[in-house]
């Protein structure tokens, strides 16, 4: 398969681009930020995502989805990123659905229809400290009767407060670092014993600190097999990492586009600042890095979709590369905008904020560069 988009993928790209530009441009983010929306996104927009058919992209055709892969999901994520569109697409339609695809039919029957329609929102409770360290998950899920009892804390649960179901990773056996003993649970909203503390983040998204106090779950809440959750978690993480990387390609691309436009309109010393070679070379370097970041994200998506052995390596390389590159795009963006880059009125600062948020989601560039080294055996 060539790495460029084929005809169907290009059509998807066009329709996603058109949709985001019309329905969820940066002004949409500003609107929801300024009215201090407790969810941080528009439920109506989420339904429109559903109407467009986006939400079922990773669900099988038999179950009402499009049966596509991460390469296609990445196309939508990129357009989301370019427009800073706030939505639960990443946690729900990509990472969440990928987990459900590896769980029971009963759970899919329960959640997929609502997801596909844009009514249901999923969140992911994985992180237990301020840095992404899924290999250190220690939260306890004790067997209790026919079910389980959860105790512990999770944080950085994006959309936790507005989600209908939260995917929770916890230990049913062993201790942090053991491959066996991890289990994923589908926890319904308002389950007794769950306490949520919603916090607004720098990019106006809303995350939750979640405390689980003797939360009782039945056995049918298990996604996949008890004690064998690592496999499902790995799949969820691969999907989430590639998709968040794709969104960051969009964020970086959007920031670069704004910056290039500014270089072509702002005059100083009697000439357009884009005529200065000092800025031209930095812009050209940024372009080059963005192209390369986009390529590794496509390659990682293709590798996961094809289930090749090197997928894990490519996924971490993608998140690591994009982390550095989109960060460069937003930093150069603000700097090249000069004083107005510091104002709330200009959008470039919003790109910088979203980039910061996404860089922590599913592991930052250092975490993933370290992982590349580990996977290479050093």
């Amino acid at each position: 398969m060539p790495l460029f988009y084929d005809e169907d993928q290009s059509m998807l790209e066009d329709s996603a681009a058109e949709f985001m530009k019309t329905e969820a441009p940066v002004a949409h983010l500003r609107e929801f930020r300024d009215k201090n929306c407790p969810d941080g996104f528009s439920h109506r927009l989420w339904e429109q995502f559903g109407e467009m058919g986006f939400n079922g992209i990773m669900a099988s055709e038999d179950e009402g989805g499009l049966g596509m892969g991460l390469k296609e999901a990445g196309i939508i994520m990129k357009e989301i990123g370019k427009n800073l569109a706030p939505s639960p697409f990443l946690t729900t339609a990509v990472a969440g659905v990928e987990a459900l695809n590896n769980g029971s039919k009963a759970l899919r029957d329960r959640y997929l229809p609502g997801i596909i329609e844009g009514k249901t929102v999923l969140s992911l409770a994985i992180d237990e400290s301020s840095k992404h360290r899924p290999e250190a998950i220690a939260m306890e899920a004790k067997r209790s009767g026919n079910g389980f009892q959860l105790n512990g804390k999770k944080q950085f649960v994006i959309h936790g407060i507005s989600s209908d179901m939260m995917i929770v990773a916890a230990r049913t056996a062993g201790s942090a670092g053991d491959k066996d003993g991890l289990t994923l649970f589908a926890v319904e909203k308002e389950t007794k014993g769950m306490e949520m503390d919603a916090v607004r983040l720098v990019d106006s998204s809303v995350a939750a600190h979640v405390a689980f106090n003797n939360v009782e779950l039945t056995a049918d809440a298990v996604i996949g097999e008890v004690d064998q959750g690592q496999e499902v978690l790995d799949r969820l993480l691969r999907a989430g990492r590639v998709a968040s990387a794709a969104e960051m390609v969009g964020v970086g691309t959007g920031a670069m586009k704004q910056t290039l436009a500014y270089l072509k309109e702002r005059k100083q010393f009697g000439q357009l600042i884009g005529e200065f070679q000092g800025l031209q070379h930095r812009a050209a370097h940024l372009y080059s890095e963005m192209e390369i970041a986009d390529a590794i994200v496509r390659k990682a998506a293709e590798a996961v979709d094809a289930g090749v052995e090197s997928a894990e390596l490519l996924v971490s390389a993608a998140k690591a590369k994009v982390g550095v590159t989109s960060n460069l795009a937003v930093r150069e963006g603000v700097q090249m905008h000069g004083g107005v880059g510091m104002t709330d009125e200009y959008d470039i600062g919003l790109y910088m904020k979203r980039d910061r948020g996404l860089s922590e989601f599913f592991g930052d560039s250092r975490y993933h560069a370290n992982r590349v080294a580990q996977l290479y055996g050093y």
Partner: protein, 386 residues
């Protein structure tokens, strides 16, 4: 089984049968590379045999048409062949400026007669070509070149000097930019081909900081060039040159991606185990390498499908050469004092240090990094006044 799966199966079988074991080990140094040509000394029988079986099948140039000595493969088949050769560690049977540079220009601009005459010689490795572009006063500003071809009816008489002519002392023929009209800067250059054994051609190797001399100064003193040895139209050689520079940039940037790019950190795992800062730098480098490799794949896919921005080779050249320079800085750092050795047998006569120094030319030859950034600014980003 699809046609492509069948092709892959047959290709694997053919490679297994025809690629000598010795040709499946990575080339250790420049002297292991097969360049072909009238005076080429094969390093081994295996090297000669590997060239001959590929030439017979048209696989030195798999995607060229069969009538010109190529394999007639489509882009998908070419990609499969490359993948399988990489996977089995097969060496490139023939490295050649004829294949990478002149060939594509002839395919685009040559007459049918020229194609039938020159291309099969290139494909079989019979004629080794060199490129006469840069001059002492014309580096980045190549179009200011002064080497002049005076019209003498049925031939030109060429006088002037070229510099940085790669392997001019080993090449059989040269493709050369020659001014044929002094009045028009851009439309006054012609693209001529001539034999390096012609009377009046002399070469003088240039010793570089690496101690090696892959480049020459080349002098033309009343060299006669018949009129049928022009590619493209009279005075329109700049069009050919620009087209070919694109290919040169692909070649230079593709140099690193055509073969496997192993992890640098894994290659030095004992060193990085004791040096967390170096480990971090190498991990970041491995990330960039994997990313650039993906870019190389996307770039080649787009090129073959005639998609992608026409100025994209400039980006590839810039990124690829800068990456390669960084790799060699890390290799030197990991090698410590041993990598400084210049002549010892243990250091393979200073190969590490010499290779490191050689890479510094990567971002100068074929258009400097700064020129690449200028071109990206102007043609891709459409920044003003660039």
């Amino acid at each position: 089984m699809s046609d492509l799966e069948t092709f892959r199966k047959e290709t694997i079988a053919w490679l297994e049968e025809n690629c000598p074991a010795e040709m499946r080990k990575p080339a250790k140094s420049e002297s292991d590379v097969c360049w072909g040509g009238r005076n080429f000394q094969f390093q081994s029988d295996a090297q000669k045999q590997w060239l001959e079986v590929n030439a017979a099948r048209g696989w030195t140039v798999p995607d060229w048409p069969t009538e010109y000595g190529g394999g007639g493969l489509n882009p998908a088949e070419t990609k499969i062949l490359k993948q399988e050769m990489t996977r089995m560690g097969c060496r490139i049977p023939l490295s050649s400026f004829g294949i990478w540079m002149l060939g594509p220009a002839l395919l685009q601009f040559g007459t049918e007669e020229q194609k039938l005459h020159y291309l099969p010689q290139i494909a079989r490795g019979e004629i080794r070509w060199c490129q006469g572009y840069s001059e002492p006063g014309s580096g980045s500003d190549l179009v200011s070149l002064q080497t002049f071809g005076e019209d003498k009816g049925d031939h030109w008489v060429v006088n002037g000097q070229k510099v940085w002519t790669s392997y001019a002392d080993k090449a059989d023929w040269i493709f050369c930019l020659v001014r044929t009209d002094k009045e028009d800067k851009y439309r006054g250059i012609s693209f001529l081909l001539f034999d390096m054994e012609s009377e009046g051609v002399t070469t003088k190797p240039i010793k570089l900081i690496s101690g090696n001399s892959p480049f020459c100064e080349t002098f033309f003193d009343d060299v006669k060039v018949p009129k049928d040895q022009i590619v493209g139209q009279l005075n329109r050689g700049w069009d050919v040159a620009k087209y070919l520079l694109g290919h040169e940039r692909e070649m230079i940037s593709g140099g690193g991606i055509s073969n496997e790019m192993p992890s640098i950190g894994a290659a030095f795992n004992e060193i990085v185990a004791l040096d967390p800062i170096m480990r971090a730098e190498m991990a970041a480098f491995d990330v960039d390498t994997l990313a650039f490799k993906a870019m190389g794949e996307l770039f080649m896919d787009e090129l073959k499908a005639k998609k992608g921005h026409p100025a994209q080779p400039n980006m590839m050249k810039y990124a690829g050469t800068e990456l390669n320079k960084r790799r060699h800085e890390l290799v030197m750092a990991a090698g410590g004092s041993e990598s400084l050795e210049w002549e010892s047998e243990a250091s393979n006569k200073g190969a590490k240090a010499r290779n490191w120094l050689r890479t510094k030319a990567n971002s100068i030859e074929g258009g400097t990094s700064e020129v690449m950034l200028n071109v990206i600014s102007k043609r891709i980003l459409e920044l003003p006044g660039a």
